[in-house]
Symmetry: C2
Subunit: 371 residues, 2 copies
Amino acid sequence: MPKQRAKGPQQLQGGSAPSPITLGGRRVTILDVAERADVSVSAVSKVVRGAYGVSPQMQTRVTAAIEELGYRPHTGARTMRGRSYTVGVVLVELTSPFQTEVAQGVSDALTDTPYQDVIVTGGTTPERQTRSIEALLDRQVDGLLLVAPWLDAESIDKFAKIVPTVTIALHGSPVGFDTVVDDERLGARLMVDHLVANGHRRIVHTSMPSAAWEKKFVLSHTARRQGFEQAMRGHGLEPDIIETWYSEQGGHDAAMQALTRSKPPTAIFAGADISALGTLRAAEELGLQVPEDLSVVGYDNIYASTINRVSLTTVDQSGQHTGEAAVRCLMERIEGRTEPKKFVVAPELVVRGTSGAPAKRTKRQRTPAAS
Amino acid sequence: MPKQRAKGPQQLQGGSAPSPITLGGRRVTILDVAERADVSVSAVSKVVRGAYGVSPQMQTRVTAAIEELGYRPHTGARTMRGRSYTVGVVLVELTSPFQTEVAQGVSDALTDTPYQDVIVTGGTTPERQTRSIEALLDRQVDGLLLVAPWLDAESIDKFAKIVPTVTIALHGSPVGFDTVVDDERLGARLMVDHLVANGHRRIVHTSMPSAAWEKKFVLSHTARRQGFEQAMRGHGLEPDIIETWYSEQGGHDAAMQALTRSKPPTAIFAGADISALGTLRAAEELGLQVPEDLSVVGYDNIYASTINRVSLTTVDQSGQHTGEAAVRCLMERIEGRTEPKKFVVAPELVVRGTSGAPAKRTKRQRTPAAS
DNA sequence: GGCCGCGTGTGCAACGTTCTACGAACAAGG
DNA sequence: CCTTGTTCGTAGAACGTTGCACACGCGGCC
């Protein structure tokens, strides 16, 4: 048995003891456990951490005392010398379905480890993101999981120097940290292929402006747009992009712009489901039948897209798997790995009711009435 | 100036100093600041905490040093003697739109305070809830915000003894903690009134079973069901309830059960929007027009309900306001209040396209074809 | 002038844990 | 019997902060 190799730290979060003896309302400390088991504090610490050099007798003795007293380590005190057993997850907003799914995946992947995840929101500005991350750093998290961070690579590298870091949905070649991404260029290609196979030629992609700091790394929307461009050129088609914002209103506005042209598209590929919903509203307002007059597709497979009445064709990226992969990367980093890793999750095309072949019409005509 | 009254603790989370001097990669400590400002450690601590007994000169001097060095207090160390400036928020799941909205409200309300919110998920079992709360307690949170906790009153009281606690969406009369609730009995009544005013008499409410521990306190679904019963009786109608689960499938199943009766209802009041969506699917499968053949309404006003193609009549409860109110309660408790408080947020009826008058028919007939 | 009180600043003992360094006990090999 | 090694257990110094207890200096009042 190699000497330095420690066993995994003992699980200490699995519910409290049946009837913990309270010591005058005071929290039970490692000292109380040591007294009860009649061993040294260090010994208890060893057992708790699953460190090397404890006999089976010691193990059982201390464990019994811990159970009896309902001892739980004080995380604050722990952070002063060792770990906090806490992983910080930074999401942009709680309202993003993909991001919360990722967080759920993280949570699930962490349940069998001694680590606990805590979630904070970071918003869409570098300032707020920085603020949130620093708050986590103040709390001495052992790892950082940044989901779609609105932050330049230098800033992320700075944080990654302090604590193991994994980013999610940030496309690029990492140096000091790991990345887990959905292959959004592939996803965009799958969708373009689907539309082209259905006979579409005039396809508009609605996107949003890239942030100034997106250089070495790009966020999802930029990756999707690039994938769209590549795929269209691959089919010998000229990419046609309208930039608004990933929102219902943004999708509506972009669609209005596209559909009131003299030569409107037969398909609109919204960069996100949320804007595809706005696109559907625009189509309805213009009296266009979907998918007969216009195919509308999105990306993300949010819950609303699955609803019977919506039934949006989209691309699914498993947030669950993404979160799990991110946790694996992070654990490896916490264990000591330093060379960067890049994990790619495969997206999947989900064909539903809003896409189809464009209607064959001998003469171009529009009838904006007839609800 | 009263002696014991401390000023509010100084804000220390607002972004780092422009160019923090790093001391060999080590974190800047209060000692470094003290040396730099040539004062005692205690003095720096006083300034940081905004404690009583600092002269303006001291204030500016120390603040300058803090800025120059980019000092940030170590939360772990802080918890050993004082506060962690952390508020723990326990949600059931990240996928619940109302709960994430509450969390967002909490986050917003906390931005101008020195407190930081961290979110964890607690699931729908007492065991997991306990586990999550204990993880937060290990991290010495200064306050606990429990959103729809699946936990009996005794357990919550136990935690409330350790740390200031506010529950959200838990109906009852609290003793050791505060509650913030949406008036769900009123919300249910508003909806019943709306349906009855439209001429409905046969109204089915779809709910879910109450948990065994719901005695002194009840969760939202139970409060809604009670509100439904009261409102129906108020109109001289017999309450008709089907219990499945708050989910798309649950709503579908309940609707199928109700609609295949010999005397089916003219309106289904789903206890939650999510199940109303399943109800809509069931209606479609049976070839029923909504709202002509069947009115379908929900509760929660989730995002999907707002979509043009769904347009579900529902009840809105502002998660944002709820979160803000909860933070106010919690801050008061942290400041020392001990008598329990109960805050009630008013719900609002949102009439959309899925509710209307039942079709007048001389003879009862069903035509389940004709899409 | 001595005393009190007040306003400021400081010294230092906690707080609960980790982990290095070391000691004790014991076994095996020369 | 001494040395060497291995295994198990312990002592005790950190870690960064808080806040009590106290010291100091300065006016004002008897």
